[in-house]
């Protein structure tokens, strides 16, 4: 078929109309489309683990705490009721979600054996048994009952505990309790430095 001028114009017009009628929505949405991502998340009140202002935080996690949900954090925000921070957070506190949900987190016990050039995995039981045995051996080998002057000292100088900045009061108490029972005197904490 040889198209004539009229045909040419006809086809063009029909094609355009067809495109407009079929397959394309002519009407864009005019509405506020953004929705509140924490609208139904669970809220947990917590305290920021960084500096000693002790800002109150709200940790928003997915799910409504139903049994079949593994909570994961979707957002962290300041607690507006907290008298010190009144909802504010600093750039570290504001990024706490990344601290909680971080692909660099350690997920399994590891051990580096003497002379090894890399980590190897170890079960919790083995790790804890080995550590307990080492602590006991060290204590039995080096415990000092009396000093040169004959005074009772009952101390263990060969084991050190260094505690972190984010240890809770209760954890610190447990540690001090257990370490004092072992006689540990090299007992230090981030608080010193």
């Amino acid at each position: 078929m040889n198209p004539s001028r009229r045909d040419f114009l006809k086809y063009t017009a029909v094609g355009g109309t067809a495109a407009a009628v079929f397959g394309f929505d002519l009407q864009p949405a005019y509405a506020q489309l953004r929705t509140l991502k924490i609208a139904r998340a669970s809220e947990t009140r917590s305290t920021c683990p960084y500096c000693a202002v002790g800002c109150g935080t709200i940790i928003y996690t997915i799910g409504d705490r139903a049994k079949n949900v593994t909570a994961q954090v979707v957002h962290v925000e300041g607690d507006p009721d907290h008298p010190t921070n009144r909802g504010t957070l600093c750039p570290k506190g504001s990024s706490l979600q990344q601290e909680i949900m971080n692909d660099r987190r350690l997920l399994k016990p590891q051990v580096r054996r003497p002379g090894a050039t890399d980590w190897q995995d170890i079960s919790w039981d083995d790790a804890l048994n080995e550590i307990a045995a080492r602590v006991k051996k060290t204590r039995d080998d080096t415990f000092i009952e009396k000093d040169a002057a004959g005074h009772t000292v009952n101390r263990l100088e060969s084991l050190a505990w260094i505690g972190g900045c984010t240890d809770t009061n209760e954890f610190n108490y447990l540690v001090v309790k257990a370490m004092h029972a072992l006689g540990v005197v090299h007992l230090e904490n981030q608080a010193r430095v």
Binding site: P49, C51, A52, C55, P83, P91, K108
Partner: protein, 841 residues
Amino acid sequence: MTNGWVDMKNTDMMLIMGGNPAENHPCGFKWPIEAKRTRGAKIISVDPRFTRTSAVADLFCQIRAGSDIAFLGGVIRYAIENNRIAKDYLVNFTNAAFIVRPGFQLPGDTDGVFSGFDAKTQSYDRSTWNYAGTGGGGGDSSPHPPGGTSPAAPKLPEKVEFDLSLQNPNCVFQLLRKHYSRYTPEMVERITGIPKEQFLKAADLYTSIRKDGDMKKASTIIYAVGWTQHSFGTQIIRTAAILQLVLGNVGRAGGGVNALRGHSNIQGATDMAGLFDSLPGYLKVPTPADTSFDAWIKRITPTPSKPAPWDSFNYSSNTPKFAVSYLKALYGDAATKQNGWAFDYLPKVDRNYSWVQMWDDMYNGTVKGMLAFGMNGVAIGPNSKKNIDALKKADFLVVGEIYPDETSEFWKSPGITTDEMKQIQTTVYRLPCAGFAEKDGSFTNSARWLLWKNTALPTPGDARLDQAIVAQIFLKIRELYKKEGGKFPDPVLNLTWNYSNPSSPPLAEVLKEVNGKALADLEDPATKQQIKAGQQLPGFAWLKDDGTTSCGNWIYSGSFTEAGNQTARRDPSDPSGLGVHPGWGWSWPANRRVLYNRASCDVDGKPWDPSRKQVWWNEGQQKWVGNDVPDFKVDSKPKDHMGPFIMNPEGVGRIFAPLSAFADGPFPEHYEPIESPIDNPFHPQQTHNPVVKRFKTPDDKYGTPKDGYTVVCTTYRLTELYHYWTKNNPMNVQLVPEPFVEISVEMANEMGFTGGEKIKVSSIRGDYIAKAMVTKRIKPLMIDGKKVYPIGLPIHQGYRGIAEDEGKDARTLANLLTPTVVDPNAYTPEFKGFLVKVEKV
């Protein structure tokens, strides 16, 4: 902090020095800003560089790191010379009127040391550092006994001589004036590098709140580790305390001396005695010379020492109750009156086991094993190389962490070859722990508020709760001792561990134990209130020294009562409007929010400023009442003249710190940092703190200007990053992608480099490579006639982190540079103000 975060909104004037709260405590810094906005308060920022705090300050002085005592001493001098002192406060609430023994000498009178110095042992015989007076009971006022103070050490007199006119040349006030009369503006300029006019502006502005002695206004001093991390750090804080006592600011809303602690719970760790030199609640550790429980108690329980007509509460006289209750909490039925409450179970301490010493002991082979939980000892330093070398010599290291860190990977730190790695015989266990959101428990913030947090989600992967790991290790050890026996198993076997889930103790149960409970039925004879055996105690007033109470930490008694967990309270109301918030969490001691608040009133018990009423004497009720819990004996009539500083045997604030309170002097004196560009202008023959000792391993080196180390370097944090932790957080790494060194434009021009170029900063101990940030915010200083370049570097990078693992970082630790030298009182390392040189890479 004597006061609190919110309380800062009540201030009229702030001296922010040795701290950079805008950078490091932004959310607490809202309250200084609030004071500016609502009260027209002013901020004076004194810092080695123009910081984020300086950016909103009304006056900035660039000081040389480590010259803070000279500055503050100069301000004390200015206040005294210009009659900007709180005369009534000084006479009645401090020991200004106390007379000091005639044998006492100031460093100005000698060759730069106080009387009693023994150059051979580098220590003081502190017997002349005492009040004149008569009598003298037991009790040592020292907070830190590891010097091994013997029971025969000198005591404070029971009746102290005094002169309320403050004219006696040997009274504390006159000694203070004499001591600081040497701290002239010219001297301040020579030492600090702050031009005289600028210093006078600052001194005038700060003391302007006490113009002509008017007591209405209050000013606060805000500091952080910029003061503590010096070989004379405690004395800097002492100088600040003296200044605040002279100005009558302590105990008042908007006043005080406010330490901003840098971590979420190092206040709690200190309260809980996570440090070798105390027991929970700041009970003093027993020494070998304390041969029995009674001997220990006699030594650590002070008796009053005061002018005869005055009264002193001497609250520390209750020490026996706290000590017995603590031992009952630890050992339960195994602690009996007969065995001195199991006193033998406590390790006895007569030397320094503190942080830097510990690494030295490991380096020298004493320490064989280390448990590090959430503590990155290699990165934290000082002198990271020494810590790495020490770990190479250890038998084992157990690291509990949530991220791979420098300490657990010390054996593959940069510079160690595979062959060398194979030589390292240390076994390292790395245990995955829980993040903050996965644990409950309480933190104690810098304002002494205990705040409970809740568990939001489970631990990821195989990670376990920290308390479960420690409990499981301890129970396994106990099991081994039960089975096999061993050295002195008694404390291990008898330690109380009565938790509903022993292998993962619920932290609420632990807090209950810390709070304390009645072991027998108790009755208060005055009020007839009864507490049944097994019930939680309402507070430390109920503690007994007869074994009928147990309490894990007396200052936390009241935190978990029969009414429930007080640290979880969430009543945000603040009826007084002073930012007290008595119903939010719980504050030690006894839910008091401002310490020494009795000093907010004059001698008659009327508030200095009626618009900021904290506590006051209610004549009708015949007791102290107020918006805060009175930090005082509530029924002590003003006319009895009981001192407001109830924890001191004197009852008053110590301008002069007698006897063994401090190792290095009863008044603060300016000494140079251990690495200093100049000799001490006051006494060139005694440049450094005389009692500071150096370590002696091959890794312990100290640089001098003669060796080419002439640049004064200081380390600090950035607000974008948190210590060695957020380098694992992609958000924060985006904010500060690379390490940098802040350098003045003048220095960069002289050395010929521009911003963004890589440079090498070297101390005698190691090198640090980072990019230069050339800035106008640091300027060269004229120190004692010499041009000195200060530089500063943030500490946050290491060799494990997002940027580090991507190879975007030179992978050097800032603490490779820092020296192993500590403050002789608090044993805090001197991270600030050491010497380096700077080169192009």
